[in-house]
């Protein structure tokens, strides 16, 4: 794994450079906005990546909350399976289909519904026990970084196009800011609370915080906003070269995000290992355990 990291870093750097080349030189200029629209290649992929990270954080948090309660864990597992199947069927029923906003494809909604149980099981399988909490803090922190980029690049794009930096009262903008504030609160809680319940409290906050993600995403369909309708899955059209560049940029950002999350995950594991070692040392000092059983004593690094 240690060898894989530098190789992936080089590949990601090449991918990011290629994405930048596509964004600045290959994608054509927008007929109305000119070159300033190229901010889309950083703004939109950052938003999608932040949503994905908050979604993984949600999945890790709910599983962390029920991990020591077998009954609740089993119930949640079946809710995911049955909910996923019923959700996909429901999308194609005429009354529900009629509620899907114009331009949004039912197949896209069905795929999104199926992603919920899929992510639930993949996250639970790859990150058992305490690692769920490590994953939750990792995705929240990196998600806040990507969400910050959305909130910074958005106003920079809005100023030349709308003539204003921020549209007060616009639900897409406000809900994104609220989302950012929720996850900043989550990180502040984890940083400054020393209670034994901190991880459970943080997981609960994350579950409620994640409810804002669908509101942010769907706000432009259900409310009149200054923010434009999406060009993908929203009934709009986009030049194939622009779409290609947007997807390349997103893939490059996902690779970068993966590497950053990997580093942050390892950092959190190291921090916990040190905390555990200090706790064991205190026990040894109190005559409660032998030094040979200390985690760092075991380690040959």
């Amino acid at each position: 794994m240690k060898r894989l990291f530098p190789i992936l870093s080089i590949l990601t750097a090449i991918f990011l450079a290629y994405g930048l080349y596509q964004a600045l030189w290959v994608a054509p200029a927008d007929a109305l906005q000119g070159d300033v629209y190229r901010i889309i290649y950083y703004h939109v992929p950052s938003a999608w990546t932040a949503f994905l990270l908050f979604f993984i954080n949600f999945m890790a948090s709910i599983q962390y909350l029920v991990r020591e309660k077998p009954g609740a864990r089993s119930a949640l597992k079946w809710i995911m399976i049955v909910g996923g199947i019923l959700g996909v069927i429901a999308v194609y029923l005429p009354p529900i289909k009629g509620m899907i906003p114009a331009g949004m494809q039912p197949s896209a909604v069905a795929t999104t519904v199926l992603m919920v149980p899929a992510f639930y099981f993949v996250v639970g399988w790859l990150f058992p026990g305490e690692k769920l909490d490590v994953l939750a803090v990792t995705t929240a922190e990196v998600g806040v970084v990507f969400c910050t980029i959305v909130l910074v690049t958005g106003p920079i794009w809005a100023r030349p196009v709308w003539g204003i930096w921020w549209a007060p009262g616009d639900i897409r903008l406000t809900s994104t800011l609220v989302l950012w504030l929720i996850y900043v609160s989550y990180l502040v809680l984890r940083r400054f609370s020393n209670s034994a319940q901190t991880q459970m409290l943080a997981a609960t906050l994350a579950v409620f915080g994640a409810l804002d993600v669908p509101l942010v995403y769907l706000s432009i369909w259900f409310f009149r906003t200054q923010h434009p309708q999406p060009v993908i899955g929203g009934g709009g059209s986009m030049d194939p070269r622009m779409l290609h560049t947007l997807l390349i940029s997103w893939m490059a950002f996902l690779c970068f995000c993966f590497l950053v999350c990997w580093s942050r995950f390892r950092l959190e594991l190291l921090k916990r290992e040190l905390e555990e070692a200090h706790a064991m040392e205190s026990l040894v000092g109190a005559g409660g355990a032998s030094k040979a059983s200390m985690p760092l004593g075991r380690s040959s690094r």
């Binding site: 000119g34 950083y42 970084v145 910074v152 920079i156 190291l270 040190l274 030094k291 760092l296």
Partner: protein, 43 residues
């Protein structure tokens, strides 16, 4: 030309934020490694 400045500003801001975060990660990692080394030395 003026609009181009906004585009450059957005791209630069993105990498400044990512760069800043990577710097905090590296500094936190170095601090932890140092603390761990001291801990082992004191054992």
């Amino acid at each position: 030309m003026n609009a181009l400045k906004f585009m450059i500003a957005a791209y630069v801001a993105t990498w400044v934020i990512h760069g800043g975060y990577l710097v905090t990660l590296v500094s936190r990692y170095s601090r932890l490694r140092r603390e761990m080394k001291e801990f082992r030395k004191n054992q």
